[in-house]
Symmetry: C2
Subunit: 401 residues, 2 copies
């Protein structure tokens, strides 16, 4: 028998009706003759509800307690989905993270899976049972309940598939991976396939369908990940090993990241200690610096620019206020309403004309960009929000996305 891991997100389980409909989809897979493991998230807005409850208790929540609290969300889901499957005459068994042997390590609310004692799941699959597992949670070596943070349920699903050596199907509220977010560019095409590396780039550059970490596990253990709609039976997208095709399309997609802030620190004395001090302090405050650039020195001064996401803005301001006390002449400029538009494609760097084409497209459309960076498989531009749609549409047309 072939095993298969299915994962359903919170919006696919938001009501009793939706849970019943997921139960039917699970049974459908079982009826095909497969051994089925189902990984579920918390129902709809359950996690938000629990987070709000905790905020009413304390603004400085103990993180171990937070994990105990949040993990109840998926536990409710596994119980209800298992009930629904059992009610339809099939044999299901539900497991929380600790029962499924999902061992984690790290800090509370942001744990990482270190291993899964997969024998228990295998044993129940052998008995013909449908195994329903709580995503997003595990247990650490002290016996504490832990959670995995953002993208946790996807991570659980792909990790179980890696252990079983089988495919992982992620069912969600979008019906696949698109070359461009269809809300921004409605002509965007759904991809049949995307390589792990391209998907990791797309995700880390802002495409919201899957968190990077789950794709990374898929990449590492070569787990085919299929992303498709949880409500309709239409073809989705496979994330898998890169396969060279005959007529290769170098550019695979465009990732868009909104809510970007660009911080420019002007008149910094060109003194490696000063710049190191700023970057160091930002790191200490856990600020994720994204695109960073430095102007060429003028009269011994440089301008330092970097982008951060909205969540980190308060920490950035805190650090700047501190540093200002030390370096009085600094000039600070914060630009909001920016987006990052990234063009992603494996092997792009081997085609030297690609970047030229992009600059031409932006220029022809009178789009100014604030910053520009490249990696092996992507080119990113920071630009004004208002220019985003025009830029994306023009790039998508140029590269036939």
């Amino acid at each position: 028998m072939t095993a298969i891991v299915q994962k359903y997100g919170g919006s696919s389980l938001a009501s009793v009706e939706k849970i019943k409909s997921v139960a039917k989809r699970v049974i459908n897979e079982k009826e095909k003759g497969n051994d089925v493991v189902v990984v579920v998230s918390a129902m709809g807005k359950t996690t938000d509800y629990l987070v709000n409850l905790s905020k009413e208790i304390s603004h400085n929540t103990n993180k171990r307690d937070m994990d105990v609290l949040l993990s109840t969300g998926e536990q409710i889901s596994i119980a209800l989905l298992s009930m629904a499957i059992n009610d339809l005459g099939y044999d299901a068994i539900s497991f929380t993270g600790f029962q499924a042997g999902i061992k984690t390590d790290g800090v509370h609310t942001k744990n990482k899976i270190v291993d899964i004692e997969i024998e228990k799941i295998k044993e129940y699959l052998k008995e013909g049972k449908i195994v329903v597992v709580a995503g997003f949670q595990g247990i650490n070596n002290k016996g504490d309940i832990t959670t995995l943070g953002r993208g946790g349920s996807d991570t659980t699903a792909v990790a179980i598939a890696a252990k079983l050596g089988c495919e992982c199907n992620i069912y969600t509220d979008v019906d696949g991976i698109y070359s461009v977010d269809p809300r921004v560019y409605f002509r965007a095409k759904k991809l049949k396939n995307i390589s792990y590396q391209e998907m990791i780039a797309m995700s880390s550059l802002g495409a919201g369908v899957m968190e990077t970490r789950a794709v990374e596990i898929g990449y590492k253990y070569n787990v085919p990940i299929y992303v498709a709609s949880s409500s309709e039976y239409i073809t989705g997208t496979y994330i898998k090993e890169y396969e060279k095709e005959m007529e290769e399309q170098v550019i695979k997609g465009i990732a868009i990241d909104d809510n970007i802030y660009m911080i420019t620190i002007g008149k910094v004395l060109l003194n490696s200690n000063n710049i190191a001090r700023i970057i160091e302090r930002l790191g200490e405050e856990n600020v994720n610096i994204d695109m960073i650039s430095q102007s060429s020195p003028q009269n011994g001064y440089v301008n330092l620019s970097f982008t951060v996401c909205k969540d980190d803005l308060n920490s950035v301001c805190k650090v700047i206020d501190e540093i200002k006390l030390e370096i009085e002449e600094m000039i600070i400029d914060i630009k909001s309403n920016l987006s990052k538009v990234s063009v992603v494609g494996l092997g792009m760097m081997n085609q030297s004309d690609m970047i030229g084409k992009m600059f031409r497209v932006l220029s022809n459309n009178n789009i100014e960009f604030k910053q520009f960076t490249t990696s092996e498989i992507s080119v990113s531009y920071t630009l004004d929000d208002k220019d985003k749609e025009v830029a994306v549409a023009a790039l998508a047309r140029e590269f036939n996305l």
Copy 2:
């Protein structure tokens, strides 16, 4: 250091404000210099909410799933209470049933505690931590999450106190044990002490404050149980070993059980097989037969009367319909709107005048009773609901309750 177990029920934890106020009470106990273990139920109506969710999924719920579902209620409570205690600068740690090492056995939704691996709790107490434990739940030897059924959180609390060899304080929405339910007899006195045996009789005869099983564990392991208000600091009631007092009050209290139905099966041929058959079938349907009596035979026929609680009425009717097909001449009478009033007191049976006094009191007040039974420490009457208050008040006055 002396350890103490506190238990708070769902209504004492029904809101964030109430949880914060419980946190302060817990800290207050810790500040007295005690090692504190707190056992909590699910917040307010959480269990009802979860039960209703499950009913929407299935009318024939898988009981293992039900336990997975219901146990989230207490898990939410331990997380929030621990957060609240930590937020006030004290060191709390939360444990679910499995984390606290509460081993159970039996059928899902109705498990019994077989052992508690108490070392873990002791270890954290030694570190000075306040240990917050989810009541009502445990884990069986297969690693399944289990729940303990009615009165489960009280049972968890008393069982932990038994293992720690310490006192157990049950904080609830009543402020102690009364000789009579104050809603029926407003002059009822709060008892300073009641013996385990008397409390077990009161509980099993209908007094709702504590479930019998928790008191039974207290009795078995000699755990002093103190029942008091969770919202006010006023003296409650100790349930403990019977102590002979100088001026002994033989009658301790009156228990009242509403919603009693009396079934009379008339014209049963006096044939032990017939009666055995009826009782046997009721047992198979898990009907709890309470007071049972049989008239003296007339012309070879007897009448069989017994009382059942409302929950069992459907099962009783089912059995009667079956039996009627076999024994056609049977006459069935079901009386509703009945109450059971029980007078409870240790050593009552040694005072032969007690029962006589009760009959005199009822007779003086023109109260008819349908049935009458006695045990070593109680005398129970089935009577019309409408007579209940007069009977209780008369008996309470007579015995100075």
